[in-house]
Amino acid sequence: MAMDAALIESLIKESIPDADVRIEDLRGDGDHYAAYVESATFKGKTRVQQHKMVYDALQGRMGGELHALALQTSVPKDA
């Protein structure tokens, strides 16, 4: 099963509006992505909480139609 990178990005931005999102299609097969998400809303949260926010944004697709999303979250330096 595959999922479009633009859809991943728009779902994340819908849920975390200030997010700076970068998606890489790791194998060019539309099924293995890496996502880098930077947002001030991550501040003060643990990595587990930050990743959960992104998974929540994907509305249950993670672990389902989206098998592989290597996720890295960060807080902007000036936040």
Partner: protein
Amino acid sequence: MDDSVAERIKSDITSNDVVLYMKGTPVFPQCGFSSTVVQVLTHLGVKFKGIDVLSDPSIREGIKQFSNWPTIPQLYVKGEFLGGCDIVREMYQTGELQELLSNNGIDVQIKA
């Protein structure tokens, strides 16, 4: 989730210091993400209990509900959910994982 499944998970993560819910076994991981976490733990010389979710569908679904986390692998240290593959890898690279394990009194012996 069935109460007995939740009880089994609670019992496993509290009676073992480090528990990895994974696809396959530590010797034969059946997914690249599970394999990565096994490699990190092995490199750090950390003893852990591997639980193969592929051999038990009730645990496979149950652990996702238990932690409210959608994917496998899942690493638990002293009964606390630490994260999946990405978080474990990142914490290993920054040295936080080694520090957290040591702070929890878990032996870390990095293998050359």
